[in-house]
Every structure is written in structure tokens, then in C-alpha cells.
Symmetry: C2
Amino acid sequence: MPSVSPRRSVAATRETRQRILERGLAIASAEGLEGLTLGRLAADMAMSKAGVLGHFGTKESLQLAVVDAAAEVFSREVPGRVRQAPTGLPHIEAVCEAWVSYLERNVLPGGCFFTAATAEFDGRSGPVRDALAGMNALWRRDLRIHIRRAVSAGHLAPDTDVDQLIYEIVGIMLALNHFLQLEHDDQAPARARRALKRTLAGAVRS
Amino acid sequence: MPSVSPRRSVAATRETRQRILERGLAIASAEGLEGLTLGRLAADMAMSKAGVLGHFGTKESLQLAVVDAAAEVFSREVPGRVRQAPTGLPHIEAVCEAWVSYLERNVLPGGCFFTAATAEFDGRSGPVRDALAGMNALWRRDLRIHIRRAVSAGHLAPDTDVDQLIYEIVGIMLALNHFLQLEHDDQAPARARRALKRTLAGAVRS
DNA sequence: CCTACCGATCGGTAGG
DNA sequence: CCTACCGATCGGTAGG
């Protein structure tokens, strides 16, 4: 007979942890990953600071967990929505459209978490910065694979500068987040789509 | 006979204030405008917190003064360097080149102050956010004027979508700052120049 | 420009 | 998961 019946079941604990992370991600997207304080998060959750901290140990662990939670949301909302798209250029177009749509729908109150957190931490050092850089690198790697496939399939020109194309796509997305968050410019998604169309058209095999 | 001989001359006080702002701008570009704390700034300046605060009154006033100082540096380094460029497309090209060069030379340790501060404050409200939004709007207005002149001069196509062009240029610059700060990618300036060339070429009168 | 404070909040710990 | 703390730091003030 196992010594069970803890105060809270493992499942309930895990659920609380997930709720904390969802709230933390929303706060961090709008107010920054450093602005996400234990006191603020605890107040939002109607918990004590110690209760929140108990799930993570340190603030840095909380920040790393929020980065992971952000990656999960992004994966679900962008690559996760286009798995059915045909390989090559159609897949790239679908990924870009899902990305624009993700920002357009304001899934997180502060826009793209990674854009905000990266700008916040790019001048620092440590595990959080490294985790953010790693996520950015992973995402670029994903893009790179799909662009290469589009070249192999003959959709894009054989001399396509893959890193140049990634650079330009990232710029279009950074601008979209910028104009949405700072100017609340509802024409920004249309501009992003136009810019993406023009940029991809310039790389199409002629 | 005026009651003069204060402890410090007006000129010396102004100079100290300027030194504080220069240091504050460097800190803020790397660690954020909120991460610029009075204690940190005072320690860097080998002054007391009260000594620093005396020049500004409140932290918010310090932040607003840093925003103004950033605008002065940017004006000097970008538009200030291309006043001799001929009106129209050559002026736009010169401005973009000065902008890339400004980021390439790492004038501020954390890259573009406005990019970092805008990302930090775009989800908030208040005078600092408003000042940053105003500076962004001023700069876009400047770009818009030069693009319109290039259209009038017949350098750019008459049906040029001015705001679309601004959007794409801003995206290229945001990406430049992103890849420089996060990846220390020394190929990023070349990519920015290539993207600018392609984008402007697409708008040239055919 | 300084010293000497203030209340509030920070991340974190002890103990239950 | 809580209460009750801790030392450090925050922005800011008083008084000189």
C-alpha cells in the first residue's frame, strides 16, 4: 500500500504550473521577461509568491520555463498549422501566412514574445539569453530547410541566397510586430503580405 | 553686483548633466530604459543617487531626457551625415547607407536605442511611450518626404506605395539590429545593403 | 553635489 | 500550498 494521498494530486500540481506559465507568458509578452516579477505573477494568480516560486525554484527557472511555453505556443500556431501544406514554395508561403496571421490575431497581448524577449536579452549573457538565441536558431534552421527544399523542387532559383531570404523574411515579421504593437496599424498585416509576396517572387525560378 | 559664485558654474552643471545622459544612453541601449536604474547610473558616474536625480527630478524625466539624447545622436549620425546628398533617390540611398553604417559601427553598445526602447515600451502607456512613438513617427515622416521627392523627381515610379516602402525599409533595419545584437552576425550589414538595393530597385521608375 | 534616510518591492528562505 | 520572514535594491525626500 503506497503512501499516497498528497494534499494535491500530481495532475493538479501540473495543471497549476501550466496556468502559471500561461499567465506568465501573457505578462512577459507585454511587459518583458524581467518585468515578469514573482509578486506580480502571484497577485494575478491569487497565490502567494512562495507558492508560485515553489513550482520553479528560482526566477531564472521560471523565465526558462516561460521561454519553453512560448515555443510551444508558437509551434502550435505557426508550423503546427501548416503541416499539410505541400513541400517547397507552397509550404514557405503557408508558414509565412500562418506567421502573419498569428501576429494579426494577437494571440499574446504583447505581440511576439520572442521578438520582445530577444530585444530585451540580446545585450546580456546567461541561460535565458542562450535559450532565446537557441529558439531563434532553431526557427531559422526550420526556414532554411524549407527554402532548400523549394530550391531542390525547382520552385526557387538554383542560385537563391538562402540566408538572404531568411534575413528578409525575418525583417518583414519584425516590422509587422513593430507596426502592430507601436502604432496599432491595422494595415500592417496587408503590408507584410505584400512584402512577402514580392520577396518570394524575386526568388522564384524564372 | 550679482550674487554669484555658486558652488558649481552653470556650465559645469550642464556638462555633468550631459555626461550622465551619455552614460545613461549607453546603459539604456544595452539593458533597457527601465533597467537604467538610478543606483546603477550613479555607481557608473561615481556619484550619489541623489546627485544624479537632482539633474532630472524623477526617473521618468531622466528617461525622457535619455530619449531626447538618443534622438540627437541618431540625428547627428544618420540624417546629419547626408545633408549634402542630392534630393530624390540618391538622398534615400545615402540615408539608408548612413543608417546601416550607424548600426554597423556599434555607436551604442546595445545597438539601436529606439529599437530596444520601442520594443520595451510599446505595450505600456505614459509619457515615455508617447515620446518614443513620436520619435518613430518623426523619422517615418522624414523618410516619407524624401520618398515623395524621389517620386516627384521621376526617380521612383509614380504609383510607388510610399508607406509600403517605408514598411520594408524599417523591416530591413530591424532585422539588421536583430542579427547584429543577437547573433553578432558580421554578414548582416551586407545583407541589409543587398535587401535595400533590391527593394529600392523594385520601386525605381521603369 | 553630499549623507542619511523613507516605504515599497525585489528574489528568495524557513518552517509548516 | 501558506505565513512570516530576510537582505538588497528600487525611486524618492529632507536637509545641508
